[in-house]
Symmetry: C3
Subunit: 362 residues, 3 copies
């Protein structure tokens, strides 16, 4: 049973296949209108996320399938203390595929190990959100035609923005990409993400605090929100805030064919006045997200039909003697769940929690 | 893109066309069972209204379509600060038509200006609720055959009852109707609604506090709830309450073919004992509401298919320099939304907020 | 209009017919995939119960029908004071069949008396939950082939466990069954349930506090949760708790073909380590619950099509002069609902509330 918890659960060729399927869906929607007739998607949203939930539901309906589920934990058996593992087993009796959102990091991974149907991670805390990344990739592909040779700026909160981390991870599997990181010092990209960027293969990496200075160089500008609560110093926040709000003035020096991305919802980090600019592609991302979710649902259900099973990672070393320190890890709440760490760097004695990826020295 | 925010967004001939379609749906349901196959209705209910929501959903399913949406704001991105405009743009990527309920007056209007799909107002605060009025009209049409020549009594809270205001507005476009307003002085019909009633064309208008006195004259009795919270003097409330509760005794003097309407839910303003009376039509209203919503969804989707666009109001004068005083107006919460007023009476220097219709002197 | 509020609303031959239909659905799902095309199930859940709700929804979709509804009271008109009776009448305009969950005992009965469509009780407080019992029966039938001659152990909280009471009631209509009740003294089966067990027809009845002592004799072990809040003495709770937690060690002496049932959700009363045991059938119960709900929906809709009406109970004597003492009875909240008691034992002057079955001496 193949599930997608992390964007890296999909190989580059699988991502390319999904992009191709999505393009074909866009060209020939009628061809796909009944392909999931009789199939059911379960949207298990343990915290609200209307946009993502409705995107999955629209995707399933456009494939001819049906949807069951819930939109917040308050209306679930979780309040009666049911484990994620049991929920996954029960829902496997009702549906053909699961899209799960959960505030605990690693919850969809636990579900994927217990369900007898495919599980798609629709966001687990600050951890993974692979279908947002698929939406970003399709938008770049459709607007730019390719990933290679682009100068990609990420602006705003690069420290906590999981969509930024995940898109960088995904782009690092291609080549010749110039990353430009634009953020206040407080919100710089974490070292462990930066370390993923290949040395060589045409990758470059620049950091700056000045959006306007780098604007003319960018092919893509990926905006994120600078949240007040990230700052200890309110004056510092107020000083910085305006520098990272995108408006028509700041766009004056941008390339004519630059594209502006944003994972939404936005609050005020992109002025409404920018929406009319043809370079604004954030509502196209929404549309593309639906198409990529259609492609992903279709692929996973087809894999089931063909009897394809999960690719086993071979040669990995696991450790079981530690407790994960991440308070948002699913291991802190799920009953009878064994702690498991995968050794990622034996020479440095570093392992990572298999659920939430938090690093641990051993 | 045609949307229906106010009952007046539909011309008399469009209302008549909807009534005809609804009658045909009732006669030939099978003919319509698949007409919306592959289409999606989004029910965006920013406050709960189970009856209205389920009516829209049942309507869409009986047309062969599907439904996505949410039933209360707590499970939406609105809690993350997303604007109504952005929500409308996003949902346009997922659905073919929107039914929106919102506590802020004018919110569906804002949605209609930003969506690329038709928007139906399913109730915005105390402002508009056009599909309830359509349900009322079909019930009168089916039970009475016509609108002309009827004596229509409205009883209870005529001050705040938006369904009363809206039905009066709709009926004023026909002719020869006798309005009888039955209410305590505290809850009389507001002047701005009364002023809509034509002088001439066979209209008459009477006010009374005495339900039993006028009962024998009525062809239609439209009941509403007298809510305790509308009164400052509790003794006054207790004294009046029973006078406006409909029971079999009060019905003794009514015409044999009078019909009793109520927008529901009722609490105690109509005794359960009345339900068995053949004149009780409030559950028929529920049924008719579903049929009119089917007719409206169908019409708006057909308008899209035919490329019909919104009728432009010509010659209107707009002002932009004021702030709307209505605390329930969408302009109080929606970001980057410009205040706009339409001049309705240049001689008296009166304009109205285009969102919530609140009057302003300029 | 036939409704199912209590498992006893179905005759033994009707239950057998449902079991046969469910078996046929399992064998030939494609045969049923479109039988409810155009029909709508309304899931009216006045309190959350995700598992039961999703089971009904999955059932309806697998029959080709659609679903409308709500998952908690907070998003309903009930908060505006609408009665269960009015809700039932309104929903009858929107759907073809209702599944209702309600915290008040007797609410689905009130709905069934006011709806013009069939009502299925999906759980009313601590009162009835007939579709769980149907799930239990199908699981026993599929795993054991028959009900006669079995030794059935019920373990845990037998005092408050309504699923236990209901399954005993259902099994008492067959013959040759040995009941073994395993519980702490505080949580023994109530006398009124025990009294239902026939004297003769091959029934035996044993009580014990010792699970391990009786384990080797059981064909079926029905586990329930021992909740801390049932105990006044916390030390007593802690002393007893472990004795009623099922784990692989305790299963060592059980028959090789014993089956383990549990209504779910479980918390810790069955160790996760038991899940891998082939005798663990509680997730099969989930699957079977969906099939029995399919069979029941189908039967009730077919009864409507054939014009079958409710079987009238003849010869019953009713009393109207008392007030029900049960604070969870629907009569405590539903407006204008007459108190009705059915005489069940004239010689002992005992009657029962027709809504919640609470006993009253007259």
């Amino acid at each position: 049973m193949k599930s997608v918890v992390d964007i890296l659960d999909l190989s580059v060729s699988e991502v390319d296949e999904l992009l191709d399927t999505a393009m074909d869906i866009i060209e020939n929607p009628a061809k796909y209108a009944e392909v999931c007739r009789g199939k059911k998607l379960a949207t298990l949203f343990f915290e609200p996320s209307t946009r993502t939930r409705l995107s999955f539901e629209a995707a399933m309906y456009e494939l001819g399938g049906n949807v069951i589920g819930f939109s917040s934990a308050s209306s679930t058996s979780a309040s009666k203390g049911e484990s994620v593992a049991d929920t996954a087993k029960v829902i496997s009796c009702y549906a053909d595929i699961i899209a799960m959102r959960h505030p605990k990091e690693g919850a969809p991974f636990v579900a994927s190990k217990n369900a007898s149907i495919p599980v798609i991670n629709a966001g687990d805390g600050g951890h993974h959100h692979p279908t947002q990344t698929l939406a970003d990739l399709l938008t770049i592909k459709r607007e730019k035609g390719h990933f290679s040779g682009l100068t990609v700026g990420f602006c705003g909160d690069l420290k906590f923005g999981r969509t930024v981390h995940s898109l960088i991870t995904a782009l690092c599997r291609y080549e010749n990409i110039n990353f430009v990181m634009i953020s206040p010092d407080e919100l710089k990209l974490p070292g462990y993400v930066k370390n993923e960027i290949p040395q060589g293969r045409g990758f470059t990496y620049t950091e700056t605090t000045d959006l306007e200075a780098v604007m003319p160089t960018l092919d893509i500008l990926y905006m994120t929100r600078v949240q007040q609560e990230r700052f200890t110093d309110i004056d510092e926040y107020l000083r910085l805030r305006d520098a990272y709000i995108l408006n028509p003035e700041k766009l004056a020096t941008a390339k004519k064919d630059m594209i502006i991305l944003h994972p939404l919802p936005r609050v005020n980090e992109i002025s409404v006045a920018v929406d009319a600019d043809p370079r604004a592609c954030y509502f196209k991302q929404v549309q593309n997200g639906k198409y990529m979710r259609m492609a992903l649902i279709l692929k996973l259900l087809n894999d089931v039909k063909c009897g394809k099973t999960e690719d086993k990672e071979q040669g990995d070393v696991y450790l079981y003697d530690f407790k994960c320190d991440n308070p948002r890890c699913i291991t802190t709440t799920e009953q009878e769940l064994r702690q498991v760490f995968r050794v990622v760097s034996p020479e440095n004695r570093i392992c990572r929690c298999v659920y939430c990826d938090t690093k641990k020295n051993y």
